[in-house]
């Protein structure tokens, strides 16, 4: 079995085990809350990596998948009494389908025009959702404490949501890894390097790009459904927050775009750094300044990101850290 000999497989499983086990065994809720946000960051960055790192299309409005997934998820669980897992899956299917249609339209654009269009989509969806009365308009939807009862009350429900998110985090990493090793992935890389040359070589750019755009929305949408279920309230401003989109891009830069581990490590480091600075008594006053300076230094001096830099220093590691 060649798959079992791949270090990547064990790295991903190991990361999942650490994430689930560290807070799981001691029942450490504060650690869980921290790792929950980190896992969400890893999911967002990994899936964004499919667009930016693999295909070379900068999707600035990637948070729209997360927010829309959250809305569908909360709507199905609260208004229609669906159980959480089917609601999250259906939310993801709906978001991916919508993304496929959007993708067919906007992926004809290239470069900064595409980037602008993605921001436009996020803002348009936010404005639309703010005016849907069934979804609470701009006040959003509030979950009653009773929705957690089927999962055993709020305390237990939050643990269940956490483990589900760890599952989605693992799925995101596996998805990135499998696509990277597939023929489909090679097609995406070809598009990234030279779209015209790729189409001459038999890659169908329009189809490939639409599919990857839609695929990159699936797992973030599921994560959004779970996140807002746990959050207890969903409002357009929080669901479609462009800052989170930008942060996901920064995470990619930090870890190294185009690489499975790069996206994950970047997200992990960025999120841990932010929450450490935020809660430290010494740095909390200027945590944004420190985070900003650090990121500036990394982008200036290590443009390939952390994994790119490691790959240059120790070329043998390149085969391990895909």
């Amino acid at each position: 079995m060649s798959l079992l000999r791949q270090p990547m497989l064990w790295l991903i499983l190991g990361a999942m085990a650490l994430f689930a086990g560290l807070p799981g065994f001691g029942g450490d809720v504060a650690l869980r809350e921290g790792l929950f946000l980190t896992a969400i960051a890893i999911i967002l960055a990994s899936n964004l990596n499919l667009m930016i790192g693999y295909t070379g299309y900068v999707n600035f409005g990637n948070i729209v998948f997360f927010g829309l997934g959250g809305y569908f998820g909360v709507w199905l669980t609260t208004m229609h009494g669906w159980p959480l897992v089917p609601a999250a899956i259906v939310a993801a299917i709906l978001v991916s389908t919508i993304a496929l249609f959007f993708g067919l339209g906007i992926l004809r654009l290239r470069g900064s025009y595409f980037t602008l269009a993605t921001i436009g989509i996020n803002e348009a969806v936010r404005a639309l959702v703010s005016n849907i009365d069934a979804w609470g308009g701009s006040t959003g939807m509030y979950l009653s404490v009773s929705v957690y009862q089927p999962l055993g009350g709020p305390r237990q429900a939050l643990w269940i949501v956490y483990f589900l998110v760890i599952g989605i985090m693992g799925a995101s990493l596996f998805l990135s890894w499998f696509i990277r090793r597939s023929k489909f992935g090679l097609g995406l890389f070809a598009i990234r390097e030279d779209e015209d040359a790729a189409s001459v070589l038999g890659v169908h750019p329009a189809l490939y790009k639409s599919v990857i755009y839609s695929v990159s929305g699936f797992l973030p949408a599921m994560a959004g459904a779970l996140f807002f279920f746990k959050n207890g309230v969903i409002q357009p401003d929080q669901a479609f927050d462009l800052t989170m989109s930008t942060e996901a891009i920064v995470m990619l830069m930090l870890g190294g775009q185009g690489s499975v581990t790069g996206a994950a490590v970047g997200a992990f480091l960025y999120d841990q750094l932010r929450s450490t600075l935020l809660t430290s008594s010494m740095f909390s006053q200027f945590q944004l300044v420190i985070a900003g300076i650090l990121l500036l230094l990394i982008v200036l001096f290590v443009p390939g990101g952390l994994i790119g830099w490691i790959g240059e220093r120790w070329p043998r590691l390149r085969r391990v850290l895909e």
Partner: protein, 405 residues
């Protein structure tokens, strides 16, 4: 190679584990946890609220702490910056409870941050006094440990409508408000009240909270021949709107705006502030007779002495949250959450901040029932800008300036 992996594994564990150290409070302290918007859009209002908390803490500690069974408990605060954003609120509140061992919680500032934090208070069964959050929905979800200090959102602009009905029943009203949960809830209630009073509403428009150019909206107001503007949102958008209305010489007879004009800093607008009214949870000039705690004048004086600015209602709400909690702990005779909850449920008292009484039915648990709002207006007295209470008649310190310009 193997060593590298081991080192990497240790590094990860150290990084993750580093955040989990426990802080143990001394035996005779009560720890209260909360988040403050030290940065971001809610900064001005949230810091005022924090000053209220701090003044209460310092005065109680100086007087020997909260007395429970003959023993004085000193109050200790643990707080984090929530950046005015809800995404880390749950992480921070979980941390406050599980790592910082907070005995009780105060809320963050603003309705949507409170809604997010409320889940955590409920999850752990920790009493949370909410101040700076007026939206009702949060209290209608089956919570048991939330207690609201502010009058609910529906009360905010209803008073302005009542005043208009009395002063100028034919005035045309423009509703212009920030597109956020709190402001929309307030505006919807105001619109309903206008309909009840058959006051004509000629414009109903929400703007994005981040709006910086109100030109088109102001033109539309002028075009609709509105006499009265009612709405607003929070501090940054409210001040900008007020300044631009003044610059564009919008011929308004009366403007009543949420939150922004309440801040003492609003006076920095100069002439643009004259005539602007604000529904207020509290004003320094009110004359409530407290059953315990300082009277309004003493609170105002102490606050001014400590911070060098006049106390607004956010600060008063913060102090009141502390005072009500203190009374409940003393009554409960200990720190037991259920007993303190019962004491809070039974609270029916008048303090410097006004009457405080919480709803106890499961559908609205914790909603503020006792407190009344007042309407304050910026007026010019001897060349100085002062904020006067103009409504209700029983509490007023000056007549309404109408038309304002």
């Amino acid at each position: 190679m193997k060593r590298l992996w081991t080192a990497l594994a240790f590094a990860i564990i150290a990084l993750v584990g580093g955040g989990t150290r426990q802080t143990v409070a001394a035996a005779d302290t009560i720890t209260i946890g909360f988040t403050v918007s030290e940065t971001g859009a809610l900064n001005v209002d949230s810091l005022a609220q924090l000053h209220g908390f701090e003044l209460w803490r310092d005065q109680v500690n100086a007087a020997g702490g909260i007395k429970v069974g003959g023993k004085g408990y000193q109050i200790r605060f643990v707080s984090y910056d929530d950046q005015s954003r809800p995404d880390r609120v749950q992480q921070l509140y979980s941390r406050l409870i599980t790592q910082d061992n907070a005995d009780f919680l105060f809320s963050p500032y603003s309705s949507n941050l409170v809604a997010t934090a409320a889940i955590i208070s409920e999850q752990y069964g920790k009493v949370m006094l909410t101040t700076g959050a007026a939206e009702e929905k949060t209290y209608q979800l089956g919570n048991k440990y939330l207690f609201q200090l502010y009058s609910p959102a529906k009360d905010y602009l209803a008073a302005a409508m009542d005043l208009m009905k009395k002063k100028d029943p034919t005035a045309k009203v423009a509703l212009v408000y920030s597109d956020d949960g709190f402001s929309k809830a307030v505006a919807a209630a105001a619109k309903a009240r206008a309909k009840e009073l058959s006051q004509e509403v000629v414009m109903d428009e929400a703007y994005a909270p981040s709006t910086t150019d109100f030109g088109p909206i102001i033109n539309k107001m002028i075009g609709a021949h509105a006499d009265v503007m009612i709405g607003g949102g929070h501090y940054p958008d409210g001040t900008t709107l007020a300044r631009q209305m003044f610059d564009q010489k919008a011929p308004m007879k009366f403007v009543c705006m949420l939150v922004a004009p309440d801040s003492p800093q609003f006076a920095s607008l100069g002439d643009a502030a004259v005539g602007l009214a604000v529904p207020s949870q509290w004003e320094p000039s009110v004359t409530y007779k407290p059953q315990f705690g300082p009277d309004p004048a003493t609170f105002g004086r102490d606050f001014q002495a400590k911070y060098g600015i006049e106390a607004g209602y956010h600060a008063a709400g913060g102090y009141a949250a502390g005072l009500i909690l203190q009374q409940a702990i003393a009554k409960a005779g200990g720190l037991d959450q259920e007993k303190v909850t019962a004491a809070l449920n039974a609270t029916d008292a008048t303090i410097f901040y006004g009457h405080v009484k919480f709803a106890t039915d499961p559908q609205n648990h914790g909603l503020q029932l006792g407190h009344d709002m007042v309407l304050a207006q910026w007026q010019k007295k001897n060349g100085q800008l002062v904020k006067e209470v103009v409504w209700p008649d029983a509490a007023k310190t000056a007549d309404l300036l109408y038309p304002m310009r």
